[in-house]
């Protein structure tokens, strides 16, 4: 009883200085979750968010040991991988979480696309989402280059060369990315700033915006034909949905740990500007883009991709036109399917050759 009194007095002390209405907070946060979210594919949005949190945590820890200069970058990564206690584990988690984050962002995007959740009034959120995808890819690209092994260096080299080939803005953009006429220490510094501060801050802002939009517009209702309408069309966020997210989180941690144990992150040869490796390949998520560039000339390759990105961003509006012209034909689904398949084919092609 004495303890209860003490606790109550502390709570009162805090409440006087931090006046928050607990009941109102409860009702604000404990928004009922619509039942259709019980379909598993609706978890694909929260997953990348959880992975993003893991990336921030592991990334901050890695910051304690990583040194972003050309002389010491590789060595510091080597030190993390081989000398620092559990360094290999933290680094492997960071690597696998990044791979998984890209996969789940793409899967989430596909889910949203194929359930038509980009349609009015959610067009803006769709566009925010596409930007999130590209910031994620940017994080992956800049992150990988920080290792400064052969692949890092030459991938950065190729990436900036591609940027340089963009018509009109190319050379300017390349100079900006590289921090000079060629890949050097300046490049590493910029990539570091992008990877550690600029992109993460941007991503946090975008994700918050993304979630605000979802809260404002609600999650798209989606039911299969004949799906029984249960009496309770919602279920409570806490504790039900929270527990679902907890399940997801612990499952992700478990899977990432096992991946780290079985396939720990390795280290290639030290970057050597004088030796170009025989086969330079970007990371798998850029395979389709790479293959496309090899198949077409520089102009179509780059402009084509920019056009493709524009299409994706503007899809809610294109879909609107299709819906009005060819209602019920669900052209979006078919075109989306074709587009996804095309991306898959190019990716696998590049992987195999």
């Amino acid at each position: 009883m004495f303890k209860e009194l003490k606790f109550a007095r502390v709570v009162d002390w805090v409440k006087e200085r931090f006046p928050v209405d607990v009941e109102e907070m409860k009702s604000l946060t404990n928004e009922p979750v619509p039942n259709h979210l019980k379909h598993w594919w609706f978890a694909l949005g929260g997953t990348p968010a959880i992975l993003f949190v893991i990336q921030i945590v592991t990334g901050v820890f890695l910051l304690f040991h990583y040194v972003p200069t050309p002389e010491q970058a590789y060595e510091s990564v080597d030190k993390i991988t081989n000398e620092v206690a559990f360094g290999w584990y933290v680094r492997s988690l960071h690597k696998w979480a990044s791979e998984l984050m890209i996969v789940t962002v793409m899967l989430h995007m596909s889910r949203v696309f194929f359930t038509g959740a980009y349609r009015k009034p959610r067009e803006l959120n769709w566009m925010v989402g596409v930007v999130i995808l590209f910031v994620t890819l940017g994080l992956a690209f800049t992150g990988y280059s920080l290792i400064y092994d052969q692949l890092s260096y030459w991938a950065a080299m190729v990436g900036t060369e591609i940027a340089a080939s963009t018509p009109v803005v190319g050379p300017l953009a390349a100079d900006f990315i590289r921090g000079g006429p060629e890949v050097s220490g300046n490049t590493l510094t910029r990539f570091f700033a992008l990877h550690v501060v600029i992109f993460p801050a941007l991503l946090i802002g975008l994700v918050v915006l993304h979630i605000v939009f979802v809260r404002l517009n609600g999650v798209t209702q989606f039911e299969f034909e004949g799906e029984r309408r249960s009496r309770h069309r919602t279920f409570p966020l806490f504790p039900d949905h929270v527990l679902t997210e907890a399940m997801l989180a612990i499952l992700i941690l478990y899977l990432l740990t096992m991946m780290s144990v079985i396939f720990p992150a390795g280290l290639g040869d030290r970057a050597d500007p004088l030796i170009t490796p025989e086969h330079i390949k970007p990371e798998w998520y850029f395979f389709a883009s790479f293959r496309w560039l090899k198949l077409t000339n520089v102009y179509i390759g780059i402009v084509g991709q920019i056009f493709f990105v524009g299409l994706i961003i503007a899809w809610p509006f294109i879909d609107k036109v299709f819906e009005s012209k060819f209602p019920r034909a669900e052209l979006s689904v078919w075109i989306g399917f074709l587009g996804f398949t095309f991306y898959l084919i190019l990716t696998v092609w590049e992987a195999l050759v």
């Binding site: 945590v57 820890f61 304690f64 080597d78 030190k79 081989n82 000398e83 620092v84 206690a85 559990f86 360094g87 584990y89 933290v90 907890a246 612990i250 941690l253 030290r270 050597d272």
Partner: protein, 144 residues
């Protein structure tokens, strides 16, 4: 709360807490610095007779950095040939008896001291030891 509910809550709590706690302990250990003792390795350069007085030979250390080992007649001096300005490779000019960096016209003397130009510091020296007929050099250790 029923006993069953309590038990399940406890199980979940313990499972989660122990997992997170163990992981946190790993992460905390990660933060503590590893001993940063600079380990060096003694490498065999070659036979003394391969570097007669007045002559020099080039050598690469374990990190791939190039150096120059010269026999002045009295002693062996090992200098890194990486210019301390922006990292270009310097080369030896016999007549002037100076190391010259072509990138921004930096000059170093035969002991690596800056003579002229933008380099801010002398060329890095390496410790050399002669044991018997062997010339040895001390370089930074590299592990695989």
């Amino acid at each position: 709360m029923s006993r069953r509910a309590f038990f399940i809550n406890a199980l979940m709590g313990v499972s989660l807490l122990s997992g997170i706690a163990l992981m946190a302990s790993y992460f905390v250990r990660f933060l503590f610095p590893v001993s940063n003792v600079k380990v060096s390795r003694k490498l065999y350069v070659g036979d003394v007779r391969q570097i007669p007085p007045g002559k020099s030979t080039s050598f690469t250390d374990l990190k791939g950095q190039k150096l120059n080992i010269v026999n002045t007649g009295d002693e062996f001096i090992a200098l890194s040939t990486k210019c301390t300005h922006l990292g270009c490779q310097v080369f030896w000019k016999e007549r002037e008896r100076l190391f010259f960096c072509p990138c921004h016209d930096g000059f170093f003397d035969e002991r690596g001291n800056v003579v002229k130009g933008p380099p801010p510091a002398p060329l890095t020296t390496y410790k050399v030891e002669v044991v018997g007929q062997g010339v040895y050099i001390y370089v930074d250790e590299v592990h695989v």
